[in-house]
Symmetry: C3
Subunit: 670 residues, 3 copies
């Protein structure tokens, strides 16, 4: 099965009687699982008391794995420190904004900056790597678990001190910090770095926004440096072909840089059933189909990635709302969603439902009773299908356009409620439109060192609200357009600099120098105003929550105009030729109707229409010469093939109408 | 008036000028009140400074009581420690989960475990008992006030230490605790009891669920031991016929054990008007009629109980929403609701509305102005009616079936959100159905020492979601069925053990051995799924928030099947003969329509239909040879007597149609 | 332009490059701005390190102001202490109720009672006054900024100690405090002032309500004394004609006493666009038109006041929801609303939008880009219109009736949720009715020293819910009525004394002695009851959330009766002649329909109907011989002049129909 996507599972030998291990491993093998991930919450098993290491437990398990031919991904255990550790070294604990320390008994309650925690973490990682790295069955390492999950803010004394050092290194003098943070406002001027702290409670919950941006950068740096410290140790010991990864994609973290600097590959934890728990809103974010958006972001980190935890059962904890079991077909649907979007490895969470602990309702493949389940059968079916898709692993997802993202602006959304509202509306609208028009797209993350060649892969780039713009990024996009690319800006581009200040210059700031638009005023649309629409030729769509008033300049042409609001007849959209390509400046947000209009007019809609007609309720994804048609609906979907293709699994020919069952997947070779 | 229910009132001599006492007592006597409860918030009157006791104030009041022939229930004052005490001994205070101590100025801000608070409490209780117990007018003692009201979680240092001792006594070694708490999960293993704490803040608000169960048991034990300490002291001094009680029924407390071990009788505080305050939802829980459910639970603690505080006026504090005055008739309706359900003593709260303090809007019988009120008249009417119901006091409420409850599962609902959702739906549904079908029922609480004879009183038992099941309880229920009883299980029976673990065994676990059902899979119903229905012959009803997939075994017959959902056609209900009786296993929850179907099919509906036809908006209760018809509606109710009965109050005959006014009560002798 | 309202702007020289100052000042002059307010958040500029004062920065700016003829309002900088100060003297910081101190980085995080903060504040104020007071351009001083904004509760150690001193001074002995606070309730008795604290967390969030009333008085006193300390220092240095003020009107503060004791004039910050941000409810409070209510309250503090901050752009912070830009015309509309209601000075906030800091979205006249805006033009138009209204400044707003307010009852609303609900409904209802019936009204604040002559200005007084009544105030109102006034009481009058106790007397308490009403019972209307209506002759209106049952006495006549509720047919309204006037007692609240009925029947509606007919969507205000017609609607309004008047701006005659554009203002000379 050369080049096939392979399967794994998350297993907790420490949760089960040792007598179950062998039958568990054999039953895994039966359904095509070839790898287990273990040990990510097991520090006390290796180091039950400070400094005393024992390896018997996992040695025994690995012996068995080698006997049955099971591969192992070994984890470092730093996500859950032992009780003895936090009791003796409370400085290892994270705290809330009031300075109240978190206690033992859950997970991720530590901080990245305590020297003592770093020392003890390094020691246990070294002990594990030294002992287990040469084991034949070990094929890779996971560092920590779900970095920045749950807590992505840190307020301990250890963090307070480290934040000061971070700022000292960044700014050198207090006056540089005063300038960067705009401390002239509200008399926030510092005379010494010793006066600066991690955020503390304020009467109105507000903090200096530029300082908050630095605080988020500091958190990201802290996490990366903690992960890198572990990766460096493991690299001293691991076998050459073994990989280093971590799992999950969480906030206040530059996952791209973390992957670049510390990991070999990035892995994601995919739980689309989160869309269906008590209190969730399935109509928002396209429910489980919305995970395709996350997978697109993951793909931008590692073109071919892994899913370390792929959902197999009802999720949630004892402390919050119920969720249903995946309906028949959904486990396969979600696994194929991952594979279609670029996963080369899919590891299910978890083998058997936990019999105790907070995750007692985080269902695995098996129920408490250990009997075979329909979910286990479905794993077997996934294996069967993936085995037939040779050459899929390692191949690339095909997209003709991309949405541009960057961490400056992403972090700014966490600081700035206005920004957040714009981004939320546009990212959602573009995603929905791309799904409904079957127009696969990528996310492309850029920073000041980004290479224009990467951008040239795409005919069109949407950069929804590039509020923070730098010289380097503006030049990069200009070059992209000059060489034939089409760049579409959304409202509020370029009004901030890297520190989040709003410099005194006409908008859209740096990109205004070449994109053909001048924005002399703007307004949020809120609070009972009649919402503005945009008229673009025959098309009309809502302008969204914000509206820039655009004037074409430098030969740009006005394309669309506002209607219905008090600023009706002002221009809403301009286009200007730039070298071989062009730039659009759009004054609103990309609500779904707006995004549909752009995608259709720019010739991006329905790229596979010659091959097959598919209803809106199905997603199309193309990868490795295969076309994946994913039916997320609880009803059948009728598709129609306009030219002959073959069913990738059966090899049989397909032509004309074809029915995909509810939650069904059809993969064709084109 | 032999065997009549007697009346009392809550009175605060310390709130009023001494010159009012006598006229107050005489006006009480005028309307039939024979007992006053006093002194529950009066520590400073007896012990104004540490260790210096004075008794003049209450001696003066008791002298007057004896003069006018008023009985007195005396209270211990520990619910509100003096300011000097908490200022000098802050370890007496309870704290929030962050460890922030509560301050003086409200009530119930102390903790049960501070040695100093126990010492000072014991001393003041002894002083009071020693001085007042022999007083002729004293007929009983109330300990503390509303134990566990408001605060049923405790986080002080005193509690932290006591919790460790509780665990040390329960488990002996850390490894036993590690096993019971499933500490292998998330690396929570303890090496020493010194590492274990009361819950502290965590990043996600989650704590070890098995530890939480122990924490709730610890709170219950702490409260019981605090009450028992006081009861033991009072018993040294009280006159032989005087009783010891406490009031109110609150969470995290095994009220049954507390009553068994420390009290002579249990008393409840009944405030049905809570259903009608600002922001309340009168459509939920059947508004004031819902208090019948609480009274049924109270009855299971003390078959004949007291109401220590029976609502007489608009309730609430200065800090929260307004509530209306009871409408004419409601005070009597609610008092008769208490009497119908088993109260032998009804004490109204309070004589006159507080002129100051947080409860300035907790209206009593009289308003601030001290004039006679219509509410005072209504007390007189209650007295008149109750005086005509001879033999009622001491008699038993009549129920043909019961809902089984136990503290393991009740406490589990406080730990486990999934469980809580099931129980909430079923307890509510069974109650509504029993009310609308005029099918009086009991709650029966069982523990491992429960006696089957108690169960045999009932033809049918519903045990909605017996998630935690023990060998002893399974045997008990088996014996009940064998001897002719009908036991009905709801979904999720037996999937947990006493520690809240989910053992690896087929479901429904221990009861699966004899109840004829096998449950191989299940699902929550949430998040936009089409909700499943259950088809039972001609009947069809919603399955509720959860569905077990049931397979009959051991000769059981399948009775009902799911419809509408993806698991349609799976079996939803089985019945198996067990000796002279039988066991039903039902895979859903007891929504009201489901509960109606069960009650009707099991022949429990309308047991008084031969006597009288009553609309759904009225409750029927039978006690001591009387039939109470309670009209909770704001409209008249038409009833029709099918055979002659007599009006219990007038003695007059009733036959054929009869009208009960809005909020009216009709008691007939059958 | 004798007697014209003048214009100013808020300017932050420290936010901008010095090279911009001159062009900024000249552009201000161009649109008629003659004054700038500066320096309210600039402590560090003057005192960058402890005790070292420098004045160069503002000297440079003032030199320029004098050169271009710009007046300056100078501010004291105490609203935002320097970082060095709070780092070195953390006792200067305010704290939350848990005792957690607020940190640096926002504003108003200090407390009024720290001796060190008072010392350092006094020193910096003295330094500023000494240096700048004689400057020619300086015309006035603003103390601090928005006193009690954001934080109007204080829990620091400094406050805790000061509160004890406040109580010691107020009560002398603990037993006096025990009486005043009703400490007999819940055993709250204190033996020593040392046992009393600022509010601390309690298990139920409740505190002694009488203590809370004192706590609010204490906060008000603390703020006033802090402001007065600064004013006294400035008075030592300021030029004789320069004024002292502060800005904004916030809670827990007797703004009348503060103005009387410390200021020369009171200024308000007017942001009507708050009605239109994300999440606001424009249908509530009449949106921006609702600011007329606040302006009426401001007018009661200073008959002719200033607007220190008048909105010119979209408001809000980076941390919360978006708001739209004012629509064309609205800036002028809001400025004219201020002028119509009594403002003699209008200072816009702010010149140019902040380029950094938390208020980065608090838009000024100019955008970030510094280009001329339509908002700048609108300032010019405001200047033009106001310049034509000679004699307006210094003239009085005309009202024929007033709503009576007092701080005892206002503070009581912050303690008492029941009171708050009544007041909220009636203040809103009376305002809406006065607006829709074009019946301008005043607020008149009374205390025990109030003068009856002030009241005699009004034909009618509404005193909605005078719960707390004193002998002096009752006598004052009796004298008002005796001399021909009409006083209308709403429900619940007189049931509390000054401490918030409910004395044992028949209601409506002290005013019951002369107002002709007896209230023997009452009820809140809540929780699903059918809401009562009131029938007054032909009129019928909802009784609101509360209903007193009124009986006429002493020759009073019953005028209206309840309908629909269970207390239908009870009397709802009485009238009694009192000397030359009369007293009404109304048992409900002044919902808008109720208030309309009263205003119409008392002959207060449409006082300008002979001159002009105006639709409900416009406000009418009369001041200085001018009639202002303010169109708050987004549609045109048609008015019709019944007799000739002249357009105040053009001098042109107006007769018959006339159209006012959306958001337009018409000022006519009558």
């Amino acid at each position: 099965m050369a080049g096939c996507v392979s399967l794994g599972v998350c297993y907790y030998p420490e949760h089960w009687d040792r007598s179950l291990w062998e039958s568990d491993l054999l039953r895994m093998t039966d359904v095509g699982i070839t790898t287990v991930r273990i040990a990510e919450f097991s520090w006390s098993i290796t180091e039950r008391t400070e400094g005393n290491f024992t390896f018997d437990f996992f040695d025994g398990f690995l012996d068995l794995c080698e006997r049955v031919g099971m591969n192992v991904i070994m984890c470092t255990p730093t996500a859950t420190p032992p009780a003895w550790l936090t009791e003796k070294y409370p400085e290892s604990l994270n705290a809330d904004i009031n300075g109240v320390r978190y206690g033992h008994g859950s997970r991720r309650h530590y901080n990245y900056n305590s020297p003592k925690y770093r020392e003890l973490s390094a020691r246990v990682v070294r002990a594990l790597a030294e002992h287990f790295a040469r084991r034949r069955c070990v094929i890779g390492w996971q560092i920590d678990n779900e970095v920045n999950c749950e807590a992505d803010v840190f307020y301990s004394e250890s963090d307070d001190g480290a934040f000061r050092e971070f700022l000292r290194a960044r700014y050198g003098t207090p006056d540089e910090l005063n300038r960067a943070w705009g401390c002239a406002f509200w008399n926030q001027t510092y005379n010494s770095f010793d006066e600066v702290h991690v955020p503390r409670p304020t009467v109105n919950g507000a903090h200096n926004p530029h300082g908050m941006a630095d605080y988020i950068r500091f958190i990201s740096d802290s996490a990366i440096s903690f992960v890198k410290m572990q990766a460096d140790i493991i690299r001293e010991y691991k076998k050459p072909d073994d990989f280093i990864t971590t799992n999950g994609m969480f906030g206040h973290l530059d996952n791209h840089r973390m992957t670049r600097e510390a990991l070999d590959v990035f892995m994601y934890d995919s739980y689309p059933n989160f869309a269906y728990g008590t209190g969730s809103h399935p109509e928002r974010g396209m429910a489980d189909r919305g995970w395709s958006r996350d997978l697109s972001a993951v793909r931008s980190i590692s073109g071919n990635f892994g899913i370390m935890e792929q959902q197999t059962g009802a999720n949630s904890w004892n402390t919050w709302g119920m969720s249903p079991q995946p309906k028949p077909g959904q486990i396969k649907l979600w696994a194929m969603q991952s594979a279609a979007h670029g996963a080369d490895y899919i590891s299910f969470f978890r083998w058997r439902t936990a019999p105790f602990g907070t995750e007692i309702y985080w269902h695995g493949i098996l129920n408490y009773d250990n009997r075979d389940t329909r979910r286990l059968c479905e794993i077997g079916e996934i294996h069967k299908t993936l085995s037939s898709l040779s050459g899929l692993a390692g191949s690339a997802y095909e997209a003709r356009y991309a949405v541009v993202r960057d961490y400056d602006n992403i972090f700014d959304c966490d600081v700035d409620a206005w920004r957040r509202a714009l981004d939320g509306e546009s990212v959602e609208g573009l995603f929905r439109a791309s799904q409904h028009l079957h127009a696969p797209c990528d996310y492309v993350y850029i920073d000041d060192g980004a290479d224009v060649e990467r951008l040239m892969r795409y005919r069109v780039l949407f950069y929804p609200h590039a509020a923070i713009m730098t010289e380097a990024r503006s030049r990069l996009l200009y070059e992209y357009a000059s060489r034939g690319g089409v760049i579409v800006f959304g409202c509020r581009a370029g009004y901030k600099d890297e520190n989040g200040h709003c410099p005194m210059r006409s908008l859209p700031g740096l990109v205004g120098e070449w994109c053909g638009a001048d924005v002399d005023d703007s307004t949020a649309q809120a609070g009972g105003d009649a919402p503005a629409s945009v008229r673009w030729g025959d098309g009309k769509f809502p302008a969204g929550v914000y509206a820039d008033f655009v004037t074409p300049k430098d030969g740009a042409e006005p394309l669309a105009f506002y209607e219905d609001a008090w600023f009706a007849e002002r221009c809403a959209l301009t286009r200007k030729s730039v070298g071989g390509g062009c730039a659009y400046y759009y004054g609103g947000t990309f609500t779904e109707p707006a995004a549909r209009e752009f995608i259709a007019r720019l010739g991006l809609a329905e790229p596979y229409a010659d091959t097959v007609a598919v209803p809106e309720q199905c997603e199309i994804a193309a990868r490795g010469g295969y076309l994946f048609i994913l039916n997320f609906a609880h009803t059948e979907s009728e598709v129609e093939f306009h030219r002959p293709v073959s069913d990738a699994e059966t090899g049989g020919p397909l032509r004309g109408p074809h029915t995909i069952p509810p939650y069904g997947v059809l993969v064709v070779r084109v």
